[in-house]
Every structure is written in C-alpha cells, then in structure tokens.
C-alpha cells in the first residue's frame, strides 16, 4: 500500500476545497484584519500608547496573525470533515485501505495549509499598516506550524463528534473565541491582577500567542520552553484522541 499517495490525495483534495471556495475561506480573514488595524491600530491604538515597549499596533500584530491561524486551521478541518461525514464521502476513505493516521495527517495537513496561508495573507495585509520586524524566524515558523496543527486536530475531533452543522460552530463560538480574546492578543498578561494572571496560565492560547510574539518582537510573558512544552502536550494529547476516535469509528462506522 502506498501511503504517500493516499496522503497526497487527501491533502490535494483539502487544499483544492478551500481554494475553490476562497471567497468564503481566504477573503474574510483579510477583511477582519483590516478592521482590527483601523479600529485598534489607528483609532484607539494611538491613545493606548506603548505596550511591552512597542507601539500598540506592532504589539498586537503577532496576536492577530495567530488568531486568524487558529480560527482557520480549526474551522477548515471542522467543516471539511463534518461535511464529508454529512455527504457521506468520508466513506470513500473508510472503504479504501487508508491507515487511520493517514486520514488524520491528511486532514490536519489541510487545516495547517489553510491556517498558514491565511496567516501569510494577514501578514501581508498588516504590512500596509505597520512595519513588521523579525526577531527569530525559527520561533515564528515553529509556533505557527505547531499551533495550526493543534487547532486542526481540535477541529477534527469536533467534527468527529458533531451531528449537525450547529455542533461545529458551538466550540468556536463558546470556547475558541473567548480563549483567543483572553489569550493575550490585545494586552500583556502582566497588566492583569495577579489572580487573573494565574487564570490566564491555564489558557493554552496565551503560550502560543506569546511564543509567536517573541519570534517577532523578542518579548514574551511566558518562557519559550514552557510555551513549547504546553503546545507539545496539546498536540500529543489531541493526536492520540483523534486516532482513538477514528479507529473506534466513533461517528463514522455503525
């Protein structure tokens, strides 16, 4: 069995899918980011002044990029896999001799492609508003890849359990969005009262945003080692969970 070809086929199909509907998948994040820049950057940002030693706009750029990477990796896999379940074309893969890890890798890879592509688009748009500096490109690449993989896995698990289209918007609305907004995209955690700083440390997105910001600005509220350990922990846990669910056929096999 040639798993490379199977993996490539799933990836190809996934990338083809979000490219075909680019108006729904690639344009909205670009528009959202423009709004953020206009409101927070130009209008309000000027009054806020500096944050972490940088002007407010430069401070929020990494977080905004990361935010779009997170949402897009997640929703790409959640909607693609759920719609494959719903239209039953997931059976095309299930009846074929495709190992479960290839299915997981293919969908997660697809989600990462969308997340990272949107990240690049957002970065490009950001360049019209602000100068972007790079402190450590490797940290940027590592954080963005691992984060998008984490949320792509999350989206996959969400889709496995989902029984309706509503079920794939509940988690993003009630969990992902609040965690992201409270994840230090718009402020430094150090500004919070001590109690809320502690609470924030339970939010994985804080680590992702800060590690990513470190890659650009060289500043972070948390240590890089902790950040990567947390991300690594989530990836491993979610991957194992996804594998178990798929091998058991939860939501897939009767």
């Amino acid at each position: 069995m040639n798993n490379t070809i199977a993996l490539k086929s799933i990836l190809h199909k996934e990338v083809h899918r979000f490219m075909r509907i680019w108006v729904q998948t690639l344009v909205p994040p670009a528009i959202t980011i423009c709004l953020y820049f206009v409101i927070f950057g130009s209008l309000i940002g000027k009054r806020i002044g500096e944050m972490g030693g940088f002007d407010y706009m430069s401070f929020i750029v990494p977080g905004l990029i990361m935010m779009s990477v997170i949402t897009n990796s997640y929703s790409n896999v959640a909607s693609s896999f759920f719609s494959a379940k719903w239209q039953r074309n997931v059976e095309e893969m299930l009846v074929a001799p495709v190992p479960n890890w290839v299915i997981v890798a293919g969908y997660v890879g697809g989600g990462m492609c969308r997340g990272i592509l949107v990240g690049l688009i957002v970065t490009f748009v950001a360049l019209f508003f602000v100068d972007i500096q790079v402190h450590n490109i490797w940290v940027i690449i590592a954080t963005v890849s691992l984060t998008s993989a984490t949320f792509a896995l999350g989206g996959l698990i969400n889709a496995i359990f989902a029984g309706s289209f509503d079920d794939i918007s509940i988690i993003p609305t009630f969990v992902l969005t609040p965690l992201t907004y409270l994840g230090g995209v718009f402020y430094s955690i150090s500004l919070l009262p001590e109690f809320w700083q502690g609470v924030s440390q339970a939010n994985p997105i804080v680590y992702m945003v800060n590690a990513f910001r470190y890659g650009f600005l060289g500043i972070s509220d948390v240590s890089l080692v902790t950040a990567f350990a947390v991300i690594g922990f989530f990836i491993v846990t979610l991957f194992v969970t996804a594998m178990v669910l798929i091998s058991k056929g939860i939501g897939l096999r009767s």
Binding site: A6, V95, S254
Partner: protein, 314 residues
C-alpha cells in the same frame, strides 16, 4: 482455490439492540457473478457494510480473497470496489477529481489515475460531464459515476448494492451489459437486489437473505427449478408396498403419507393415473407451503410497489 468471499457465523447487533444479521454463512467463488437477493431490511447492506468496514461486526469471520478482515483489513479492502446503495460522493467536486482522489486512496498515482478516469468516464458515458460538479448529474449518471469510482483501482471484486434502484429501464440494460463485460474480463461481481428478474438476468449463483439469515444459497438454475416446483402431501389409504412414480420426485414418509415434488408445468393427472394403476387410494391432498415461495410473493409485491412509486415520482 481461495474463495473471493467467505463469511462464517456473521452476526451484527446495532447500537440500540436491533439484530440485523443473525447468522450469515456465505461463499462466493472467484470470477462468479453472484446475487444477494432479499427484501428491504433483510440485511444486505449491513452484510456489505461489514465486508467494507463501514459497519463493525458483532461476531463472525469475513475473508476477502483469503484475507481475514480482523487481521489483514487493508489487504482485504484493496481487493474490493464498492458501489454503495446511497450516493456518497462530494456533490460539489468535479467528476474527474472524485475519481482521481479515490484512486489515490488506493495508492494509484495521479498519472495512472487520470488515464483510468478517462477510460471509465468514456465507457460509462460520463466523459462530457467530467468537469462538472457531481450534483449536476442525473440519478442514473450518479450511479454510473459510483461504478467508475469503484473501478479506479482495478479491484478483483466489485460489489454493487442495489445498483439499479431508481434507474430507468434503458440505462439499467446498458448497466447490465457493462457488468457482464466486466465479469467476462474476470472480475468477481456481487450484486444485491430485490428484483428476481435482475438476478435471473445476470447471475450464476444466488443467495437469498431474509431477516438477517441466508435462507437459500444455490445456483440460479437450481433456484428457478425450485421455484417452479410445488410440493404436495398426499394422504393415502394405508399401503403395504413401495410406490414408484415416473417423472416426479416422490418421498414415501410412512404407510399412508406420500410427498411429491412436481413442476408447475406438469399435470397432476399422470400422477393420479400412475397411483390408480398401482392400487393406491388418495384420500386427501394438500399443498405444502414453502418459505421461499412466501418470500418471493412478498418480494414481488415489494418490487411492484417500488415501480409504482417511481412512476409517481416521474
């Protein structure tokens, strides 16, 4: 020679406790054209689901070309091409993509896949539609798309779950011809249906499934002969000698009971003539009902109903 399909003691109880398969025993030889005939809800799709790993079995053994699905699932699956009962492709995807991706899942590289896609799309008269999204196809075309998709990895065995349900008669015939050609080329074909005519037209061997059990597994010819025969039980005045009858199968159960199997075309007169000449007195006679017959009556009723429904829809 290994069987193309060998199922032993297969049971399936769905979540919620419904037992869809009670005890399936089935063997299909390589190169066969095999029908699995049964009314709606008999367990045809469930059996196919287990073979293709869409349904988890509760108990039993399934081997595909000698590969047990419990320990060589991927090998087993690589031999099967499945045409499911319900449409299950991405409606928004163009035909060529659907085919090439499916081939990819079986490890067929893009280049080869494109060549095969062209071949099958042309053979199944879908070539003009190759760049259209699947939802733009008519029902019969969608069915043919699924046949093309099932052939992309050139499997040894093609399984079709009610392939002609809802397909109009002309296309149905074209599909039958196509399947016969495939079978001549050496592909084992298993087809489920609730039309006896369809099985009769195409298949060499047949299994009849009802209520999650195989009630009959025989050659098509054998089945037709069996359906053509009626069994009568004759109540006789006690006799001392052995009755011998020409041209009919008879069984003498005791000194006053005789069972005869007689073709529906044959006349009973000659039986009675022979009995009289042997001084056997028939006191009464009754028709022995058989389960197969009852099943076929229900199958035929169902087929008629389906036809009426499709008329209404049309």
């Amino acid at each position: 020679m290994t069987y193309a399909l060998e199922i032993t003691g297969l049971k399936k109880t769905y979540k919620g406790g419904f037992q869809a398969l009670k005890n399936i025993e089935l063997k299909v030889e390589q190169g066969d054209f095999f029908a699995l005939l049964g009314p709606n809800g008999a367990g045809k799709s469930t059996t196919i689901g287990v073979m293709t790993s869409l349904v988890n079995k509760t108990q039993g053994q399934v081997k595909i070309y000698g590969h047990d699905i419990d320990n060589a699932l991927e090998e087993a699956k690589s031999h099967i091409g499945l045409v499911p009962q319900e449409f299950n492709f991405n409606q928004f995807e163009p035909l060529t993509n659907i085919l090439v991706n499916q081939a990819g899942y079986y490890g067929v590289d893009r280049k080869t896949a494109l060549i095969r896609a062209e071949k099958y799309l042309k053979q199944l008269e879908l070539w003009d539609k190759r760049n259209e999204p699947a939802r733009a196809l008519s029902g019969g075309m969608k069915r043919r798309l699924m046949i093309a998709r099932a052939l992309m990895h050139e499997p040894k065995m093609l399984i079709l779950d009610e392939p002609t349900a809802g397909v109009d008669i002309e296309i149905r015939r074209a599909m039958w011809d196509f399947l016969q050609v495939l079978n001549k080329e050496g592909i084992t074909i298993i087809l489920t249906t609730h039309y006896l005519e369809e099985a009769e037209m195409l298949c060499r061997n047949i299994a009849i499934i009802d209520g999650g059990e195989i009630v009959e597994n025989t050659t098509m010819k054998g089945l037709l002969a069996q359906l053509d025969t009626e069994t009568f039980v004759l109540d006789l005045a006690p006799i001392q000698h052995q009755v011998s009858l020409d041209g009919v199968v008879s069984r003498q159960l005791d000194d006053h009971t005789l069972e005869i199997d007689i073709s529906k075309k044959q006349s009973l007169n000659q039986v009675f003539a022979q009995l009289s000449s042997q001084d056997v007195e028939v006191k009464s006679m009754r028709n022995k009902s058989n389960r197969l017959e009852a099943l076929f009556v229900s199958l035929i009723n169902q087929a008629d109903k389906t036809k009426e429904n499709s008329k209404v829809e049309a």
